[in-house]
Point group: D2
Chain length 360, copies 4
């Protein structure tokens, strides 16, 4: 049923649990002849890697990727690319409490209800550790897309504190541990998050991902709309509870004449020049040549130090404190993951488009 | 590539253009032995039908459904169910202007960019007329789900004017042409929309869909999360630009201890009783037994009477007024469509769940 | 679950029962811009049509195809192509006997075992009437493939009497009602089949389909091998019990040095010239540039006038004679169906190949 | 595009090249709660393992399987099961000759034509080494099927020398290195194969696989016929050029009254008792409760010591001798692979059946 696969022409399958020996991803349908080495993938994993600041989980994982198949002499061969990341820091801990009770806001109860059992070690399959595999696959997707398509993910809001769009500077994103494109907001967020962390609490966030350079024509009606694929991709990231494209929810408050993106003749040999981008780069589910703009809302993690009411596996009332090494704002590390999902959706759309139309 | 199919175990494929002879849908994977007649489907089509008030398009379509296959003696046989809806009111009009220029906010340019050609008659395949097929398929999905699952779709906001949650009464939904569950808001919206209509403008809306009675355990990690499937389903509806589940974007502004849905022991033999439903009925992509709550944001239609700047197919600057019979608020008729998509996602999740686990 | 769909990039879905109001097929993923009218499809349906000689069922069906969607001004638009064929000669008959007892060699018992019920009218969904939809879809696939690929299907054996390969002349195929490429064999088969028909018996057959002009590189390892797709396509045709490619079962009796197809330099700018074609045009699941050669074995229909032992729905012993209008050799009309399936597999392989590699 | 995946509800994806660091398979959709350890899988790999007699390749691979995910405390959790097999004996050899010229009967030319490049080391992805992954996945499938379904694969013909059906004894299969169920034939085959091996030649074979205990009702019309899935599964095994079900090609030479499997009342509470099994256990693509019988024809490997004419990558005429460690009859090791594919198709069919019908 492909529960663990995503994509159509460009398709990947992930596997692995938080505390098993390794996690991994198999990328299928990759075009042949693309240069690909571990060094092309590692930088993206490094951006997502835990333990890099006090604002992300203190689990220490080098997240070193190994390519086990699908390349020969440094280029892709068109056969499946198997990527492996070993789990090294599965700290020996007592999972008895988590095994015995359900953590509210986590998948514990739902997994038990579905499968009749679950792997309680670090959340098992429901751990955000799985997203490392998406990032690795996303690095391959970027190779497929080539350098003319640039994908940027960053936080535009944390704990209800939004950036000032006038300050948005993508060069700032690498200068702080929050993927924040607004230097002033980054300073505020540091204090905000430090305070939440010390209080044993957690904050939500809003991530924005933009893809520039996507040609018009990718995506397809009706159930393969780019919007639909992006929504599935982003809503499937751990802790995401909302997705919007372009003006998104704000579009529901505009009037028709405000919302429509007017067109003017573009440069010679190019598509139209649009006077605005409320649509977020798609129309009828197909890219228009404008930047693709997606935002996702991430809830605050439920792994907090405040005791919360819950029940045991046998149905009795109890309380639980989710100890362990957790991110006070899981939205932060979602930025590189959302970038990867954007790349994966676009690579798939590119290959599907040329399948049907014969054009790049 | 299944561009026009949705679902996995319960799967449907739609076809047809706004101004072709007919539209239709083929439902595959339906369990055998379910009573199914046109009369089970027609009421849902009637709710979505155009021309019922001055607030929806004046196109007159009876939208009479015919079952062409898949039933015998009034029950489903397990073979594909083909449903046909004839297009009767394809008013003879001059599409020369739409064929010659691109309507901003519509899929005209994107289709041309993708396919190198397009059917300009009423938007062709990009017309919201396709959603009648979703509603027809959704009626079959409801049969699969049975009566213990109740799905309600309604508008919670129009043109920026939100309902008062304290007034929310599902019995009101059928009493006004807006699927509005708040009688006072319905009164305000009537004036609001009338004013927009007269001005040749249009309004956006927010639709909420709730499914009660869904058992815990449906949906699956990682790329088959119920959230992910719902996001794909809803974001693929015409004019939708945002989707959220449970607290959605608001969750990004809560703290961890506020957002986690605490659990107390449930009734004998049942799952937990949750003290809140910020999660919107899912955890880790799997249903928890709480109501599934989804909201979608719909942009105002770009079919307005104000002339807007655009370009011709040959790339010259021009202006266009989108004449024709359009809905001043496309969000209204999206309510029954969103209900249908909820039913379709859930029926699919139900069959997938029993496939893997052997349980209902 | 796509029980009724076939293909990946080029994909079709069929629906309809033998005695319902109509049957049909939806073709998804078709490239835009191909000229397509009913007149492009009808000739292929006419070749498969029943009632054309005393050697096929006497059911009278004009099998007139209607295009309901997916074209505009005579060319494909890239949106789903819905094709409809009405059932006109659902002769009013008494199906009480078939409803009450299981016909050996037919799907009656299996359908009941699976679904708990079945449509007994003319075999319902299990009727070979469904193959008309494959032929219609196949005509679209031929448009995708273009004229450089020629597909020929013909009988090489009937009732155990094989053609003489030395006499094989494709021009003969249209000169007899058996799709027989050997004039002498056609004469013998006429007597053979007439005798079987009069005896109320039936004969099996072997059909060969050859595709010339397929470029090297289509198909893919490992589970998308061209061989594998062709086997699935052909084995799914009603009454087929065996499929072989190239030398097929005879290859199991050759030695390695006999079986390998030696290669010599081809013409300037072309692939190799092969000295034989035991492989039937594929290697490692990928086309080699040689003709693709497939053969399928069709059992004799079980619709015969001899009474055979069976049981009733309630499990009691009885006998049944399958009256009705049946083909004494169902293999005959399988020739155009097998051609269609070859075209459908190849069109899909072509689009998948260009999806991954960017080449035609 | 799922080039490397097989199945629907129960689905697996394989990866890896003959001479890479490892090969592996990810099994998705497995029901939870099944006991599964390496010891459940290893015996099946051991049966397929090379280097066990002088009649199979002398490559020495322990083929030790490691479970990397999907189980907890010895039972499956419902999450993807990742199985890894390291390649240890990638003998350091000179692949210059194979890299420079195409081996007739191998996939060398086809891969180059498709991808523009290939991994020449041991055949890369086209190596039969990939089938170890199928066997590993097949062991998981057997767990899903349970012990009431018994699957037996054996050779019924080698180099044109068939077994005597009167001697068929499944207990003999383990007593000789040929998976031969006829002791006398095994003796003859030993001499036959020894002689071929010494001559640097190779032999073809016919493998039969039988599944007993499959309940009636699995499989589905029209493109999900059990026959169709089995044909795809078997035809995709390396070197297979023909597949038949039940009487297969011989059915084409029977008359209708001979071929139909007559039915008599079965035991109390059971389905019918069939008087023959020409159908091979299916009707209309659905299991009937009779044994499922499939045969596959394997060509003799082209890896022989006789020099054969071929061309170089640059298109010049040359000759090649395929040195290396090869099986003189690749059909032998296909028996456990074919058993695995049978198990994989049936597990998938079982889960799909209960998805649609709610029955086991």
């Amino acid at each position: 049923m492909s529960f663990n696969s995503f994509g159509h022409s460009f398709r990947f399958t992930t596997w692995g649990e938080s505390h098993g020996p390794a996690i991994g991803v198999v990328v299928d349908g990759c075009p042949p002849g693309l240069p690909l080495a571990e060094a092309d993938i590692q930088p993206f994993l490094d951006r997502r890697r835990p333990g890099q600041s006090r604002f992300t989980t203190q689990r220490q994982e080098p997240d070193q990727v190994e390519i086990l198949s699908g390349t020969y002499e440094g280029v892709t061969t068109g056969t499946p690319i198997s990527l492996l990341i070993r789990n090294l820091d599965q700290r020996s801990r007592d999972y008895a409490e988590v095994a015995a009770s359900y953590r509210p806001g986590h998948a514990d109860w739902a997994y038990d209800a579905k499968y009749g059992l679950r792997d309680p070690r670090g959340g098992g399959r429901s751990s955000a550790r799985e997203t490392a595999c998406r990032v690795a696959a996303g690095a391959v997707a970027r190779k497929v897309l080539g350098e003319s398509i640039r994908i940027s993910g960053y936080l535009v809001e944390m704990g209800g504190d939004a950036i000032d769009r006038a300050n948005l500077d993508l060069a700032e994103v690498a200068n702080n541990p929050f993927f924040c494109p607004d230097r002033e907001a980054a300073n505020r967020w540091e204090r905000l998050l430090e305070s939440a962390r010390k209080a044993g609490s957690s904050l939500g966030a809003i991530v924005e991902v933009v893809a520039d350079g996507v040609p018009a024509g990718w995506g397809a009606p009706v159930y393969m709309k780019l919007d639909s694929q992006l929504a599935a991709a982003m809503m499937g990231i751990n802790a995401v509870k909302g997705v919007e494209i372009g003006a998104g929810f704000a579009a529901a408050r505009l009037r028709g004449e405000e919302n429509a993106d007017r067109m003017r003749p573009g440069a010679e040999g190019e598509g139209p020049r649009f006077l605005s981008n409320h649509a977020g780069g798609t129309a009828g589910g197909i890219s228009t040549g404008q930047p693709i703009v997606v935002r996702l809302a991430l809830k605050p993690t439920s792994s907090i130090l405040t005791p919360v009411e819950t029940i045991t596996r046998s149905g009795e009332a109890t309380e639980i404190v989710t100890k362990g090494r957790h991110d006070p704002c899981v939205g932060i590390r979602a930025a590189p993951v959302a970038e990867a999902m954007m790349a994966l959706v676009l690579a798939d759309a590119m290959l599907m488009h040329r399948s049907q139309t014969g054009r790049g």
